[in-house]
């Protein structure tokens, strides 16, 4: 049986008709066949559990392979953050999300490629070379969760974990034609996520269907006392799990109100075809009962700049630990030089993008510039959140294109900020505000995936996945990327 969803396999296994090793064998075979080209994985764990029948028959992820972004720690399995700084780092513990996956019977099959320390939008800052887009090997799969997206889109695995500090789950989902969720801030534990911008980021699921997305979220979500920002009250786990195993509810769209922010759609650096397809999708949805209002909110065009200041500031602090004492590669003997020289030399091993962000973060936090940049950015963040909450008090979601530009080539010059502003603006809104956001495919033009991006009210993650399920299964009937390839 060739499965198209992990949830179908889970049901068959429960019903006694599936071989518990079917998905694992498929994953190992496809990883061996495709990864030499795609470079989706930095480290592969090819081990096979001995007796799945006995071990996990009744657990929801029994025998399901999961790929994990390589900035999420895995005990005894190398975790590099795609950096030379951690190229030999083998963690002594696992992230809470990893423990929950393994506890549910899931199998971690490898650690996926990313931008170094998750800093980038194209996956090209990885010290292990970029992951490639299975739809076209010259394209970026989007970043920073580039390897997770490539692994899911190519059909190697159905489920992967990404992390999203400023769109790092949702951009790669849009560019590879898969589903990605940035959960409400605090819904998923960050314990064991190697921090980049801790006030912005969440670990989230990536999958090739809405059902599988719900399945993985139901396993990883929930309170964790090891993360001080973890929410005690949240969405019922059963409710999320039920999305994975039920058909779409009829009339999901009736009575649903959306807001479209004009500035995000009319961005001067967007690609015409992507915007045309966005309006086409919206027309289709309104004929099915969705109502929407177009509003102007110019401040959203300053969201990426606000995000940069906050993220780089937090990065300059979070990455201070990589000095060679407890973490990080050592290049100078401690007896040979002053601590300043030892630290500077060791930290010279960071890649260019990481260096730029740490140094810029140090600058905006320094005396004389703190109020001008950092305080200002926090205030702008407050303003943006208030404006989004206002829009979401009179509508259920904010809809934007999944990506207003076509997938960029791997050799795109990342110092050219024009296209990146168009890409970042809709995505970082969810990180700045802590709101949940989902990206899902609605169609194809040739090999270019067309996606929608929906930001929802706080803790409406379940509703977003339910909506994505109804739209992709009932209305757009979207092909999976590995069916298009």
């Amino acid at each position: 049986v060739r499965y198209l969803r992990a949830t179908d396999f889970v049901l068959d296994l429960k019903g006694g008709s599936a071989d518990p090793y079917a998905l694992l064998e498929h994953a190992h075979r496809e990883m061996a066949r495709l990864d030499p080209q795609l470079n989706a994985f930095i480290t592969i764990d090819g081990s096979v559990p001995e007796d799945l029948e006995r071990e996990c028959r009744n657990r929801v992820l029994c025998g399901v392979p999961v790929a994990v972004k390589d900035n999420i720690v895995t005990e005894s399995l190398r975790t590099t953050c795609a950096s030379l700084m951690l190229k030999d780092y083998v963690p002594s513990y696992s992230a809470t999300v990893v423990e929950r996956i393994v506890g549910a019977g899931g199998k971690i099959v490898g650690k996926t490629n990313l931008d170094e320390f998750a800093m980038g939008s194209l996956g090209t800052t990885s010290a292990f070379g970029p992951a490639r887009n299975p739809l076209n090997l010259e394209w970026s799969p989007g970043g920073s969760s580039s390897g997770s997206a490539a692994a899911v889109a190519s059909g190697m695995v159905f489920l992967a974990l990404g992390s999203d500090t400023g769109g790092s789950i949702r951009l790669p989902a849009a560019w590879t034609g898969i589903f990605g969720l940035k959960p409400s801030y605090g819904l998923v534990s960050r314990y064991g996520l190697i921090s980049y911008g801790e006030s912005l980021e969440q670990i989230g699921p990536m999958a090739s269907s809405a059902r599988d997305l719900a399945l993985l979220l139901s396993v990883i979500m929930g309170f964790d006392e090891k993360d001080s920002t973890s929410l005690r009250e949240h969405i019922a786990r059963d409710r999320v799990e039920s999305i994975a195993f039920t058909n779409p509810k009829p009339e999901t769209l009736s009575g649903l109100k959306a807001t479209v922010i004009k500035e995000l759609v009319e961005h001067p650096d967007s690609d015409e075809v992507m915007i045309r397809e966005f309006w086409r999708a919206l027309d289709r949805l309104s004929s099915e009962g969705l109502s929407y209002e177009v509003v102007s909110l110019p401040v959203v065009l300053k969201a990426p700049q606000t995000y940069y200041v906050i993220a780089f500031s937090e990065a300059s602090s979070n990455l201070a630990r990589y000095c060679g004492v407890l973490y990080g590669t050592r290049r100078l003997d401690f007896e040979e030089a002053s601590w300043e020289e030892v630290y500077s030399t060791n930290r010279g091993l960071f890649g260019w993008e990481v260096k730029r962000r740490i140094i810029l973060g140090s600058f905006v936090l320094s005396k004389g510039y703190y109020d001008m940049f950092f305080s200002k950015a926090l205030k702008a963040r407050g303003l943006i959140k208030r404006e989004l909450d206002r829009l979401l008090s009179r509508s259920h979601l904010i809809l934007t294109p999944g990506s207003p530009v076509k997938p960029l080539p791997l050799d795109y010059d990342i110092t050219d900020l024009s296209k990146l502003n168009a890409v970042d603006a809709p995505l970082v809104l969810a990180n700045l505000s802590g709101l949940p956001a989902i990206t899902f495919p609605v169609g194809w033009t040739g090999r270019i995936p067309i996606a929608l991006h929906a930001i929802g009210r706080f803790l409406s993650d379940d509703m977003l996945i339910e909506l994505a399920k109804a739209l992709t299964e009932e209305i757009f009937r979207v092909k999976l990327p590995f069916e298009v390839m």
């Binding site: 001080s228 300053k302 002053s338 300043e340 740490i358 140090s362 940049f373």
Partner: protein, 98 residues
Amino acid sequence: LSDRVFEISEELVRELSWLAKVGLSESEVRRLVRELDVLLGYISEIVELSVGEEELLYPNPEGHLREDVASSEGRGRKHIAGAIEENGFVKAPRVISE
């Protein structure tokens, strides 16, 4: 930002590199002068933003603290396995010069 109150010079970049303890080669210093100029120009767009008396937002929905009970399951040593250990101490570079 036309009337920027700072100028990105090689000297400033060297100072920042020293403060952040991120070593840069001479060619990297020159490259960063150019790139910081572009990046700072970009983020400086928020300086002109009218935000009023907005609260500083730092989301931590209901931050909580744990009871102060040791729970490392005896794995403390394992967690510092990356350090150089000498006589039961973690070894670090000398911070006071003689």
